[in-house]
Symmetry: C2
Subunit: 412 residues, 2 copies
C-alpha cells in the first residue's frame, strides 16, 4: 500500500507539474503583452484618425495595423502550442474560456478596421471596441495570475498583471486625451472620466510597486525610466491644458500630437519594464522548478532506503525503520506540512489584491441579473456611481453587493 | 490554427475532467467519514476507560479498536487507488500533502493504543492524540471541498464538510464530558472549554444548514432525526448536571454511561445524515457530468459543421460561416463566458465560508513564526484568548492578523 511518504512525493511531483505549466505560460504572457501594446497604439492612432475626420495619423495607423496583425499571428501560434488535454491542465476550464473569448474578440478586428477606414464609426465607439479586445487579452493574463500556487511566482504574476493593467489605463488615457485634443472639446462628465482613468492607473501601479522587488538594480532602473521627470512634467502640463479648458473653447489641434508622443514615451517605458518582469518571471519559474526537483530527488532517495529496509523485514510484519529513519520521516512530513501551510497563508495575502477585480465583476453580475443590464451597461452604471459620489469603484461595488439582499426580483 | 471554439470545447473537457475527479473523491470522502466516525467512538470509549482507571468500557474499547482497524484498511485501499499522476491532478500538491500527514498520523495509532491499554497516559492526552488523527482526516475532506470548481458541488461539499466538522466537535464534547463524568471533577476553565465546544458545533451546523437543500424530504427527515426532542432534552439535562457542579463535588459515575449513550444517539443520527449527503453528492456529480457531456456533444457538432463549411471555402480565404452560424458562435461564446463568470461569483460566496478555518490557520502560523510556538501551542493560545475575552475564535484570529505589522521580529 502507498505510504504517507509516497503521497509526499506525489505532492512534490504535482508542484513541479504546476510550475512547468506556469513556466510555459510565461512565454504566452510575453506575446500577449506584445499584442496588447500594439493594440494600445492602434487605439491611440485610430482615435487621432477618427477625431480629426481622417486628417491625422492615417498612414501611421495602417503601419500599426500591420504590426498588430503580425503579433496577433504570434499569439495564435503560441496558443496553438498550449497543451489543451483536459486531463492535464489545472484551472483549464476558466483559462480556456477566457482564451476563447479573447480569440473571438480578435476575430472581430478585421471588420472593425474596415469600419474605421471608412470612418463609419466615432472615435469613442472604436476606442471602446479596441479596449474590449485588450480587456479580453488581459483577462487571460489575470487567469494565469490567479492560478499560480507558488507564492513567489504568484507575487511576480500579480505585479506583472497590475503593471499591464496600469499600462492599459495609461493607454486608455492616451486615446481619451487624443480625441479631446483632436476635437477641442471637453465637458465636466468627460473631466470626471479622465480623473477616473488617472486614479485607476495609480492604484494599479501601487499594487505593482507593493509586489515588486526593487533590490534588483535592473528593475529599479526600468521603473525609474517610467517616471522620467521631463516626460512626467510634460504629461501633467498637457493634462492641465486639456482638463481646464471650458466647454466651448477650441484647442490647438497640434497639441494632440504632442499629447500622443508624450503618453507614448511613458507607455513605451512601461513596456520595457513589463518585458523585464516577464523575463524575470521565466527565470524565477526555472529556478523554482530546479529547486523542487532537487528536493524531490532527496526525498526519493530516502523513500528508496525505506523500501529496501521494509523488504528486509519478514512479510506480514510491520516494517521497522529504526529510530534515525523514523526521525527523518517525521521531519519530512512536518516540514512539508508547514511549508504547504505557509505557502497557503502567503498565497491568500497575495491573491487578496486580485479581489478588487473580482468584487467589481460580482457587482456587475448582480446588476446584469437584477436590472437586465448588458455587461457594458452594468460597468458604466458602476463607474457613473463612483464618479458621482467621488468614491473608488471597489467601494461602490462593495456597496452594491451589500445591498444584494434588498434588491428586487433576484434571478437565480 | 485553433479557433476560439476549440478552446471552448477544451474548457468543457477540463470541466468534465475536474468533475470526474470529484466524483471519484466522493467515494473516498465516504470511507474517510466512516473511519472518522469509528475513531470518534474509540476516543469516547478510551476516555471512559482511562478516566475510570480501567474500570469502564475495557471490552467495548477493544471491539471499537478492531472496527477502526477495518475502516483504516478500507481508507488505505481507497487512497491507494487514487490517481497520483502529477500531470493529471489539479490541486494535487495540497491534497497529497494532507493525505501524507493523515497517513502518518494513522501510522502512530498502534503505539498510542498500546500506551492506552497499559494506562500509561491520561484521558486528556489520549483524547488530544486521537483528535489530531481525526483532524488530519477532516483536513483531507476540507481540501476536496476547497478545490471544487462547480458551485452546486462546492456547496454540497461545504455542507458535508461542516456537518463532519460539527459532528467532530460533538464527538469531542462526548469525550470531554465522558472524562468529567468519570472523574467527577469540573472547574471554571473546563466549563469554558465545554461552552466553546458547544458554540463550535452550533456554528458548523449553521453553515451546514445554510448550504443544504431541505426541499429534499429524505434530507429533511434525516436532519430532524439529529434533533430528536427526547435526546436533545436528555443532552441538555446532562450538560446542566455536568456543568453546574462546583469544584469539589463528586458525581454519580453511572451518569458517564448515560452521557456517552445520549451523545452517541445524536452523533449516530448525524452519521446517517452524513451518509445521505455523501450519497447525494455522488449523484450530483454524476448528473453534472452527464449534463456537461451533452453540452460538449452539442458544441462539438456545431464545431464540426463549421469545419466542414470552412473547408468548402477556397484555401487562403477567410471562412465565411454565414449569418446563422455566426450567431450560434456568438451565442455560445457569450453563454459560456457568462456561465464561467456566474460560477466564479457563486464559488467565491460559497468559499467565503471556508475562510474562517483559513483565517484561524493563518493566525496560528503567525504565532508560530513570531513566538516560536508549536502548532498546538499556537492553537491553545488562540483558544485561550477567545475564552478569556468571551469572543469567537475567528474574531481573535482576525485581531491577531490585524496586529501582524506591529508584532516584533517577523520571520520570513
Amino acid at each position: 500500500m502507498k505510504s504517507g511518504l509516497s503521497f509526499l512525493l506525489a505532492a512534490r511531483q504535482c508542484e513541479i507539474a504546476e510550475l512547468e505549466q506556469l513556466a510555459r505560460s510565461s512565454d504566452v504572457v510575453t506575446v500577449l503583452g506584445r499584442l496588447t501594446h500594439a493594440l494600445q497604439r492602434e487605439r491611440g492612432l485610430t482615435n487621432l484618425f477618427l477625431a480629426s475626420g481622417g486628417l491625422h495619423a492615417a498612414e501611421l495607423r495602417l503601419q500599426q495595423v500591420a504590426e498588430c496583425q503580425r503579433f496577433e499571428h504570434e499569439v495564435r501560434t503560441h496558443l496553438d502550442r498550449l497543451d489543451t488535454d483536459a486531463s492535464r491542465v489545472p484551472h483549464g476550464a476558466r483559462l480556456f474560456s477566457r482564451i476563447a473569448v479573447a480569440l473571438h474578440a480578435l476575430d472581430g478586428l478585421s471588420e472593425l478596421r474596415s469600419r474605421v477606414a471608412a470612418q463609419a464609426m466615432t472615435a469613442e465607439e472604436a476606442s471602446a471596441a479596441l479596449s474590449k479586445v485588450v480587456a479580453g487579452l488581459l483577462a487571460v493574463v489575470f487567469e494565469w495570475a490567479d492560478s499560480a500556487t507558488e507564492p513567489e511566482i504568484s507575487r511576480a504574476l500579480v505585479a506583472l498583471f497590475n503593471l499591464m493593467q496600469g499600462k492599459e489605463f495609461a493607454g486608455q488615457e492616451r486615446a481619451f486625451g487624443a480625441s479631446i485634443f483632436a476635437s477641442g472639446r471637453i465637458d465636466s462628465s468627460t473631466q470626471q472620466q479622465w480623473r477616473h482613468l488617472i486614479d485607476s492607473q495609480q492604484r494599479c501601479m501601487q499594487v505593482f510597486a507593493d509586489f515588486t522587488d526593487f533590490t534588483n538594480p535592473e528593475v529599479l532602473a526600468a521603473e525609474q525610466a517610467t517616471q522620467e521627470p521631463r516626460t512626467l512634467a510634460e504629461l501633467e502640463r498637457l493634462r492641465r491644458i486639456g482638463y481646464t479648458v471650458s466647454g466651448q473653447d477650441t484647442m490647438d489641434a497640434r497639441l494632440g500630437q504632442a499629447w500622443y508622443d508624450c503618453c507614448t514615451r511613458r507607455i513605451d517605458a512601461m513596456k520595457v519594464l513589463e518585458d523585464l518582469l516577464a523575463l524575470n518571471l521565466r527565470h524565477l519559474c526555472e529556478r523554482t522548478i530546479n529547486r523542487a526537483r532537487t528536493d524531490l530527488r532527496d526525498q526519493q532517495e530516502l523513500l528508496d532506503a525505506l523500501s529496501a529496509q521494509a523488504q528486509a523485514t519478514r512479510p506480514g510484519e510491520p516494517a521497522l525503520y529504526g529510530p534515525q529513519l523514523e526521525r527523518s520521516i517525521l521531519a519530512m512530513v512536518q516540514e512539508q506540512s508547514a511549508r504547504i501551510q505557509a505557502m497557503s497563508n502567503e498565497l491568500d495575502t497575495v491573491r487578496a489584491t486580485l479581489n478588487e477585480r473580482k468584487v467589481v465583476d460580482r457587482a456587475k453580475g448582480l446588476l446584469m441579473a437584477h436590472r437586465q443590464f448588458t455587461e457594458e451597461e452594468a460597468y458604466k452604471a458602476l463607474r457613473q456611481m463612483a464618479m458621482n459620489q467621488n468614491r473608488r469603484l471597489l467601494e461602490v461595488a462593495e456597496a452594491v453587493l451589500t445591498m444584494a439582499d434588498v434588491l428586487p426580483g433576484r434571478a437565480r
